[in-house]
Amino acid sequence: MNNLLVANSVSKNFGNFKALNNISIEVPKGSIFGLLGPNGAGKTTLIRIINQITMPDSGEIILDGSPLKPHNIKDIGYLPEERGLYKSMKVGEQALYLAQLKGLSKQEAKERLTYWFDKLDIGDWWNKKIQELSKGQAQKIQFVVTVLHRPKLLIFDEPFSGFDPINASLIKDEILQLRDEGATVIFSTHRMESVEEMCDHIALIHKSNKVLDGKLTDIKRQFKTNTFEVGFQSSNPEEFTQLIKEKFDVFPATFKNLNDDIKMNIKLPQEISSNDLLNFLTSRAEIHHFVEVIPSANDIFIQTVKNN
């Protein structure tokens, strides 16, 4: 069993509104799984179903080989997008309360809190009230509370919102470390650069349907257009450019380069390999730059959403 979490054709309606239509995903153990989609696509509904906050109309969720049960609450740590803490409650007391709700004993919770508070250097906040902390500080507490009970599955919905770049990278490192220690992470965000950086797998939900799913590298391979970015110098640039344009599809390209090169994107038809192109070019020009254009997560997102 390599998948920690499997959703089997999960559907959910709210009145006449179809929030999820037959969604199936597989989250491999130890991966960081990006759950992507435009606003209102149904991501939060799916996450709430995984957290047993909402019940699906049909379909089932399998966690670690067996159907999701109420006792699985302690196996999941969830940081919702709409998050907050009791404003007038003290940090320590509140963290203890939330940890106990996740099934930790008071003693355990206290030990782990001390560890985390030391680690994030926030030990002196214990007796402060949440309303005395800044938003970013409160977010840190919230993060600690989410991971404190060492769940198998961590679900982060926009985990970096409200953090400055330093704290965002601190939290990112913590998430990666938790993954390395064996946790599986579902990660929902609109920040494509963090998807690029962190996710191994992604699923894209659009208008209640899953439109894309798989390993990020596979998806990229699937989305690549056999386009190459080239930079070269030629003794007769105009004539040569004209020649290329006759043979291939050419698009303008912009990249930084030390030489005063001619830059272009060349899209190859299926039957021509990159070596063929390279051979064609080397015989006529001096090549400084030759890179396959790999679609970014951002491109894939926009392209997929627009095409659906």
Partner: protein
């Protein structure tokens, strides 16, 4: 996993430690007692005021009956005209002048009596004067007819009907007042409790929504657990507050009356008037006895058990509705439209209790309203001291429990959906849709 105790504990401690809750708990009884003390003090000052009323009696038959009373001195003015008498009274600073004009028919003075004063006198002063004059005149008339007044006085009889139920329980009027007081207190207490702590529950739900912690919590506990924990925790805080109020109020009342020597019982209230009247009518000796038998006659055990159950049932029914309202809205100002349907039956219950149960505790209206679940806790609690058949109590309670289960189910549905809804003010139609999610 059962987190209910944990949630109850948090809700309770959170309420009890809240600064404004503490202030309210200790300040309200002080304010109440201070108010009572001020009112008592003022009415005492008022009563202590000495006033002198001068009487100019041209007929010579009425003036002599006025004897000096506690706070009023009567002085007779002789041999003076009305104008001189007025001057004299004003110069002396007397309260007023009672002028009885000479008329041809001494006994027919109906329209020839005047009272002059700077300030207009209170109704009680005037009616006091009228009563005395009327009595004197009718005595005189009777004497003129040759009737012996002493004989009439001697012929006056007093009747006290001894009340007894068919099953042999002795009752009395005092008894009825006692029942009224117990029933009224129980019903009113429930009413107050629902309003105060229902609102507190609602605010606490709204707070969880606005602080956005709700989704974090319900990823760990079931919404219904959270709701019940909230209701129970807040109620326990409420009971704590009530107990402190009663103890502190009692102690303060005792201390204040001891220090200032004010007889707080002097404050007249309509109920007390009724009781006084009842007491005046029965023999002084019997009063104490009546009170004791009245108290013993109260279905104490029934009252206590019924109070516990109806109070609990009624409170849970309403507080779950309050919780549902809190879940449905984003902020307190939006609660108004949903509050009406809750407040209406409550107020109705108290009105029915106050107006019809007193008149006729077992009449149709009282009986019907003591079965309708939204009004039954208050009305039934008011009826029970008058003796309600057990089957009626059980039926009413069964209905209450059914409705209570239904409202908790209903509230839990609304709560479950509502706590995750932000940004729009829901309509009744939408709430209806939520039930089907």
């Amino acid at each position: 996993m059962n987190h209910l105790p944990l949630i109850i504990k948090r809700e309770y401690l959170n309420k009890v430690r809240n600064r404004s809750f503490i202030v309210m708990t200790f300040l309200s009884p002080m304010i109440m007692i201070a108010l009572i003390a001020v009112v008592a003090y003022l009415s005492q000052i008022n009563n202590d005021k000495q006033r002198t009323i001068s009487i100019l009696d041209e007929t010579g038959v009425v003036g002599e009956i006025f004897e000096n009373a506690d706070h009023t001195t009567y002085t007779l003015i002789n041999d003076a005209g009305l104008e001189t008498a007025k001057e004299l009274v004003r110069a002396k600073g007397d309260f007023g002048l009672l002028y009885i004009m000479k008329s041809p028919d001494t006994l027919n003075l109906v329209e020839s009596i005047n009272f002059y004063s700077d300030d207009s006198p209170s109704v009680s002063i005037i009616s006091g004067l009228e009563r005395r004059i009327e009595k004197r005149l009718s005595d005189l008339k009777l004497q003129n007819e040759g009737v012996d007044i002493e004989q009439i006085r001697a012929s006056k009889t007093k009747v006290a009907i001894a009340q007894e139920t068919f099953s042999g329980e002795k009752t009395s009027k005092i008894d009825s007042y006692l029942k009224l007081a117990f029933g009224g207190a129980a019903g009113y207490l429930l009413f107050m409790f629902i309003i105060i702590y229902g609102n507190m529950i609602m605010r606490s739900v709204i707070e969880e929504k606005t602080s956005r912690i709700i989704e974090v919590i319900i990823s760990s506990v079931k919404p219904i657990q959270l709701m019940m924990g909230k209701i129970i925790g807040t109620s326990l805080a409420g009971v704590t507050q009530f107990v402190i109020w009663i103890i502190l109020g009692g102690v303060l009342l005792f201390v204040v009356s001891a220090i200032f020597g004010i007889d707080l019982m002097q404050i007249q209230s309509p109920q007390q008037d009724m009781i006084n009247q009842a007491m005046a009518e029965s023999d002084a000796q019997n009063i104490a006895q009546d009170l004791i038998t009245g108290f013993v006659n109260l279905p104490i055990l029934n009252l206590c058990i019924a109070f516990l159950f109806f109070f609990l049932g009624g409170y849970l029914l309403y507080s779950s509705l309050y919780a549902a309202i809190g879940a449905a809205v984003d902020n307190e100002t939006d609660t108004q439209q949903f509050m009406m349907p809750i407040i209406m039956p409550l107020v109705l219950a108290v009105y029915v209790g106050v107006f019809t149960v007193i008149e006729d505790p077992h009449g149709t209206i009282s009986t019907v309203f003591s079965f309708i679940p939204l009004t039954s806790p208050v009305v039934m609690l008011m009826r029970i001291p008058f003796g309600v058949p057990i089957w009626q109590q059980l039926l009413s309670f069964a209905l209450l429990v059914c409705t209570f289960i239904f409202t908790v189910w209903f509230a839990a549905k609304i709560y479950r959906v509502g706590i995750l809804m932000y940004g729009k003010k829901p309509t009744y139609k939408e709430l209806w849709k939520w039930l089907k999610y």
